[in-house]
């Protein structure tokens, strides 16, 4: 199989896949760095991790997975020329993204109330950098989902949904490493 035909196998726009692979690599390197630094102080990392709100983060996993489902359904419905329900699904996906951000904001507020900052421990430096960078992607994704619900060409919706699934994918790998592997 030639390189050209292999690239042609990718669904949707090639540039979106370049973005997806780039983002996965960035977060992957960040998480490996997190685990490497953990080796310098495993007890301190475990103690710091015990301050995290695991239930909220686990709930956020279900929120993002459900949001991704709505984005996937929106593309299916748009291809079936059901524009109205596709738009509603995209708006629903975006609203769930907002729910994710509200829960994340409450988590950050809780840390701030405890006096926990970037400088408290190296664990929290990685925690804020990685989860904050991911939350920025969620915020961008909410905007993209709303944009493609308005400019609802199927190719636009496919690109928007792909971005959203990438955000979902990053969280699926980030959540266990930051929140669960103590």
């Amino acid at each position: 199989m030639s390189d050209a035909s292999l690239i042609d196998e990718l669904p949707g726009e090639l540039l979106m896949w370049v973005l997806i692979i780039s983002e996965l690599l960035v977060f992957g390197v960040g998480l490996i760095a997190f685990m490497a630094v953990r080796l310098t102080d495993p007890v301190g990392f475990a103690e710091a991790q015990s301050h995290l709100y695991r239930t909220g983060a686990a709930f956020n996993t279900a929120v993002l997975v459900t949001s991704g489902y709505l984005a996937a359904q929106a593309l299916h419905w748009r291809r079936a020329a059901r524009r109205g329900v596709a738009r509603l699904a995209l708006i629903g996906a975006a609203l769930l993204g907002v729910v994710f951000l509200i829960i994340k904001g409450a988590e950050y507020a809780g840390k701030a109330a405890q006096g926990i900052t970037f400088e408290t421990h190296p664990f929290f430096l990685f925690y804020y950098l990685l989860t904050g960078f991911h939350a920025a992607h969620v915020l961008a994704g909410v905007g993209i989902l709303l944009l493609v619900s308005w400019r609802d060409d199927p190719r636009n919706i496919e690109a928007g949904a792909q971005f959203w699934h990438m955000v979902d994918l990053v969280w699926i790998m980030l959540f266990p490493v930051i929140y669960l592997l103590g």
Binding site: E9, P11, V65, T66, A71, A72, G182
Partner: protein, 95 residues
């Protein structure tokens, strides 16, 4: 004579039931992760289980939501890289 699809690069296998079953399986895997953390098993086993479940979820998203099930070579490539990533994370966890 069959008519050509107006979206030739698009997937033909996006059926609502398939998407719904994918969503339910992701929720079930997330619930399994939560239950795993409640077990009083050795942390190494729990850690391995958590990473394996995350890997399965990632592969489901790649295959079903990002449509790589139709591009087996790419799905295999992504799976290999994610598996390598999980092995590195687990190795660092065990040290």
């Amino acid at each position: 004579m069959p008519t050509a699809s107006p979206f030739p690069k698009y997937s033909n296998r996006r059926f609502p039931n398939a998407l719904t079953s994918t969503w339910l399986s992701l929720l079930a895997l997330s619930l399994a992760t939560a239950l795993l953390t409640l077990l009083s098993a050795p942390p190494e086993l729990v850690g391995a289980g958590i990473l394996i479940l995350a890997l399965i979820k990632a592969r489901v998203i790649l295959a079903r939501y990002l449509d790589l099930a139709e591009s087996p070579a790419w799905l295999c490539g992504f799976t290999m890289v994610l598996t390598g990533f999980s092995v590195v994370i687990f190795a660092l966890y065990l040290i």
